[in-house]
């Protein structure tokens, strides 16, 4: 680019370039009107630009200083005032000791009133953690919270395993003359503070669902009556006034010992004859001939497990209900099985009055079926659906059940959470 020298001064010259701008340059012995090509131009910044750059520089410097101060402050706070680890001195008065990154004691806090009372007497003044822990243990011992034979427990909560190990080593080294137990915070207590509570004999009507019994082996011996205190589970209910008989083969055991039979509720449905579904009609066995042996008077109540998905919502109207079975049919069986029926054909004891007892050709049975009453269908409507015609040779009495959360119409609250259809076979 060519320039025309417009003015010459002592220290500079004014040049006009081809873009009609007038510029200042070094006066290398120029003369006015001279055409030059390579001047030394002035790089004078604009006054406004200089002001802006000056303020930007100041602002940047201030921001950098602020950032530096904040970073340093946060680092200092994190190192000195932030709790990085906690030591819990376990005794009757639990005292918590907060430590910073350097291991210095930040604060002491009590977990209960005893600890707070104890801490009122203690002044934390620039002591290291070992001294503080010693002082607290001595204070607790003087208060009688510790006996001389007790071994103090220290629970350390650290951010990582390395810090935990370091603190543990420091405490064990610091208490080399005293025996202490150091645990990581969260591990179970070495001492069991309370004796185990006795098992409850209350029937299970809470949320703990007992395991459904497995279908028993036909050849298995009848299990012993359930012992309620064995596993803390529900006690097997017994019929009022009737002794509890052992369960014969082919029937399931009571839910008092569910763990013996497994916990698969679907298995009883596969056992065919041995299971009764809630809507199934159970035909009682008929005695063969007039010389057929009379079934003995029922002595006990046995339960047939029926899988029922809606068992939680059902309760038996008639008490007592089996406490833990998923869905049981309570059959008051005779003492002995009828001949020719095998072990699976246990007849329920009739509940009908003696005056209304039918002839041997027409036997009365009461089938109590636990089924959910959901929706607008009432218990009576459900009973109608399940009603057996009068022409049937077996008269089945069907009682509808109410869900757990709704009180039955009779006003009795059944304890069992699951459905247990109950079939009572009358005496022939």
């Amino acid at each position: 680019m060519k320039y025309i020298v417009m003015e010459c001064h002592e220290g500079y010259a004014l040049l006009m370039d081809e873009e009609s701008r007038v510029l200042k340059a070094a006066n290398l012995r120029y003369e006015v009107g001279q055409h030059i090509t390579s001047p030394v131009l002035m790089n004078c910044a604009d006054e406004g630009e200089r002001k802006i750059s000056f303020y930007v520089t100041r602002f940047a410097a201030a921001a950098a200083c602020l950032a530096l101060a904040v970073t340093a402050g946060s680092f200092y706070y994190s190192r000195n005032f932030k709790t990085h680890s906690t030591v819990l001195i376990s005794a009757k008065a639990n005292i918590r000791m907060d430590l910073n990154k350097k291991g210095e004691v930040l604060s002491l806090s009590g977990g209960d009133s005893k600890a707070n009372e104890l801490l009122k007497e203690y002044v934390l003044s620039r002591k290291d953690k070992i001294s503080v822990a010693r002082d607290i243990i001595e204070l607790e011992t003087s208060k009688g919270y510790y006996s001389e034979d007790d071994v103090p427990d220290l629970y350390i909560k650290a951010e990582d395993a390395e810090e935990y190990n370091s603190l543990k080593e420091e405490f064990e080294t610091g208490f080399n003359d005293t025996q202490i137990n150091v645990y990581e915070y969260g591990t179970p207590l070495a001492k069991v503070p309370e004796a185990p509570a006795p098992p409850e004999t209350k029937p299970a009507n809470d949320a703990q669902k007992p395991e459904a019994p497995q279908p028993p082996d036909n050849t298995a011996e009848p299990p012993a009556p359930p012992k309620p205190a064995e596993n803390g589970g529900p006690a097997a209910p017994a019929a009022p006034g009737t002794p509890v008989a052992p369960v014969p083969p082919g029937e399931v055991s009571p839910p008092a010992a569910p763990s013996v039979h497994g916990n698969d509720p679907a298995k009883p449905a596969e056992s065919g004859k041995n299971t009764v579904k809630p809507n199934d009609r159970i035909d009682p066995p008929k005695p063969e001939g007039p010389n057929a042996p009379q079934p003995p008077a029922p002595k006990k109540t046995s339960y047939v497990s029926v899988p029922n998905e809606t068992a939680d919502a059902n309760t038996l109207l008639t008490a007592p209900a089996p406490p833990a079975a998923a869905a049981d049919i309570n059959i008051e069986e005779p003492r002995e099985a009828l001949p020719g029926q095998g072990a699976n054909s246990l007849l329920p004891e009739p509940e009908v009055p003696k005056a209304a007892a039918p002839a041997p050709e027409q036997e009365n049975y009461t089938l109590k079926i636990s089924a959910p009453v959901t929706g607008p269908e009432t218990a009576e409507e459900k009973s109608e659906h399940l009603q057996v015609p009068e022409t049937a040779s077996v008269r089945i009495r069907v009682l509808a059940l109410q869900p757990n959360n709704t009180a039955p119409k009779t006003g009795t609250k059944a304890p069992a959470p699951e459905a247990a259809p109950k079939v009572k076979a009358p005496a022939p």
Binding site: Y12, M16, E19, N27
Partner: protein, 240 residues
């Protein structure tokens, strides 16, 4: 001592606005400038040395760029001189190894005399004189408008976008001679007409009013050499 410091600073602040005061300050501090140049050259500078001219120019830059926040003026000026000389040295370093035509050989013959001179010194001198005459006329006419060449230099657009805006306005004025006549008659820049006709912001033109005075004067009759010098750019402004 304190009064001397305050005197220098006041002189510097005065020289920032007044070119004559700047020239006087430079003349007053020539020994300082020479000493700084000698420190760089490791020898006393001649009056014909480019380094001395550059050092004087650096001193003038120091006057223009100085503020009280920068501390002592002389230290600041010495730093400016040193930096400028270093920059010039690096620039000239590219031409290292080349022989100057002015240097005499052993047989006391200038190299300049050995090559054919294609320059027409006579035509060159004539052109320079004619240009000088135009510049003097222009300066005199600018004085009537209350504008000096220093004002034009300080008011010239630096950014390319601003330069294009000014060139658009000048091109519009050249295409409309009545605007130039009106400008010469009233001795005021018709900013409203230029902004409206060239479709540019009036505010941008107002910022560079003194620059526009010089260029519009060049665009009037006369000043053919200078108009020819900047015509290429003005044609570019017309195309845009």
């Amino acid at each position: 001592m304190t009064s001397d410091v305050h005197q220098i600073i006041s002189q510097v602040y005065k020289a920032k606005k007044d070119s004559h005061a700047a020239d006087e300050l430079i003349s007053a501090y020539m020994p300082f400038i020479k000493s700084e140049t000698a420190r760089f050259l490791n020898r006393p500078p001649d009056q014909s040395d480019d380094e001395l001219s550059i050092a004087m120019f650096a001193f003038y830059e120091a006057i223009k760029n100085y503020s009280r926040l920068r501390g002592s003026f002389l230290k600041f000026a010495a730093l400016q001189i040193k930096n400028r000389l270093i920059d010039n040295y690096r620039k000239e370093k590219k031409n290292k190894g080349q022989i100057s035509l002015d240097v005499n050989d052993d047989d006391k013959t200038d190299l300049k005399e050995t090559i054919r001179d294609e320059h027409d010194d006579y035509a060159e001198n004539e052109l320079r004189d004619a240009t000088k005459q135009e510049i003097e006329e222009l300066s005199a006419q600018m004085t009537e408008f209350g504008v000096t060449m220093n004002d034009v230099a300080e008011n010239s657009p630096r950014q390319k976008r601003t330069l294009e805006i000014c060139q658009k306005a000048v091109s519009y004025a050249r295409n409309n001679p009545e605007i130039l006549d009106d400008f010469l008659r009233t001795k005021r820049v018709p900013l409203a007409k230029l902004a409206e006709g060239a479709n540019v912001e009036r505010k941008s033109l107002e910022r560079h009013r003194r620059y526009l005075v010089a260029v519009l004067l060049i665009c009037t009759n006369g000043y053919e050499i200078m108009r020819g010098h900047i015509m290429q750019v003005l044609k570019g402004g017309e195309k845009k």
